[in-house]
């Protein structure tokens, strides 16, 4: 049984036939391969947790890597390749979604938060400064006498 499963595994790894294994064969043109690898980092592996297809060995990731290479070899531009995938899988196949009104809010939000935070910091500083300016008023003669009496009682 064990030998059989090893054999199947080896057969699977050696297969070129029925169920094609998608193999990471770098393109012969180094420029194209570089473009491929950059694109791989920008395409989401849809069955993984937030990984790009460059980061995962899931079958879909492998398949998409090969497809990206094929399209580049066929002469597609980077945008063409992305469009090809977006046509089939929607915007969410891209790691960096296109800037639309809805995603704009997302990107602006951290700056709004930062402004809030810095504003808060400035406000605190201003309030502290104001506190310091009021300072400590010295005691007047009456309060001074009362203080002396209290201190006397204590001794």
């Amino acid at each position: 049984m064990r030998i059989l499963s090893i054999a199947i595994l080896l057969a699977g790894l050696f297969a070129g036939s029925a169920t094609a294994q998608y193999v990471d064969q770098p393109l012969s043109d180094p420029q194209l391969e570089r473009r491929a690898q950059v694109l791989h980092k920008e395409i989401r592996c849809l069955v993984c947790q937030n990984q790009a297809i460059s980061d995962s060995n899931a079958h879909l990731a492998r398949q998409l890597r090969v497809i990206v290479r094929e399209r580049l070899e066929a002469g597609d531009s980077d945008t063409d390749v992305k469009t090809y995938l977006v046509d089939r899988y929607g915007d969410w196949v891209l790691m960096r979604p296109p800037l639309k009104a809805s995603t704009l809010i997302l990107w602006i939000a951290p700056f709004v938060i930062l402004a809030f935070v810095l504003g808060g910091a400035v406000m605190l500083v201003v309030r502290r400064r104001r506190q310091q300016q009021t300072g400590v008023t010295p005691l007047d003669a009456q309060e001074e006498a009362r203080l002396a009496a209290i201190l006397d009682e204590q001794n």
């Binding site: 169920t19 094609a20 069955v47 879909l60 398949q63 998409l64 929607g90």
Partner: protein, 181 residues
């Protein structure tokens, strides 16, 4: 009560409302990018041992069909399979099976063992056709109208609830999405 002490509570209320609405939303997965688009061009042989391969033309015959993406190596497919068997037995809905990346013998054996509800099957051995359909996992089920336009896609196990609320109405022409060329 000074406002700045109330701010965290207010922020939380907003978040909680958001979470609440999020919970009540029907758990929809990512809608297919192909809804309202014609089916891709493809031509696949039948699964080993079956007759009748699957091509684009089969999906433009004038009556709506279900296309179910399945594989013998897919556990959840077994869970939804009885529902398809029942559908095939009790209704006249046309069901086509798209067999994804299966060894021919495996797929044949699976259909032998668990039953074949499909009027036609297409063996997508290398998974290319699945990519064109925007499939990224198994199982998935598509509703295609008579003109070959994708109307709906369900991801993951098909439940009776989805069948009754989303699929059957569309097979009968309701909730129709116009097709772009």
């Amino acid at each position: 009560m000074r406002l700045r002490y109330l701010l965290p509570a207010i922020a939380f209320v907003v978040v909680a409302v958001g979470l609440g609405v999020g919970l009540t939303l029907k758990p929809r997965e990512i809608p297919s990018a192909l809804i309202g688009k014609p089916v891709p061009e493809f031509s696949l042989p039948a699964v080993e041992g079956r007759t009748g391969g699957l091509t684009t033309a089969d999906l433009k015959t004038g009556s709506p069909v279900l296309v179910n993406v399945f594989a013998s190596w897919c556990g959840p497919c077994r869970v939804e399979h009885p529902l398809f068997m029942e559908l095939a037995r009790t209704t006249d809905v046309t069901i086509y099976g798209l067999n994804q990346r299966d060894a021919p013998a495996d797929a044949a054996r699976w259909l032998e063992t668990f039953g074949d509800p499909y009027d036609k099957t297409g063996a997508d051995l290398d998974g290319r056709a699945s990519i064109d359909w925007g499939v990224y996992g198994v199982p998935e089920t598509f509703v295609v109208d008579g003109a070959g336009c994708i109307q709906y896609k369900h991801i993951s196990v098909l439940t009776r609830e989805v069948l009754e609320e989303e699929i059957m109405p569309r097979l009968q022409g309701q909730k129709h999405v116009p097709c772009e060329k």
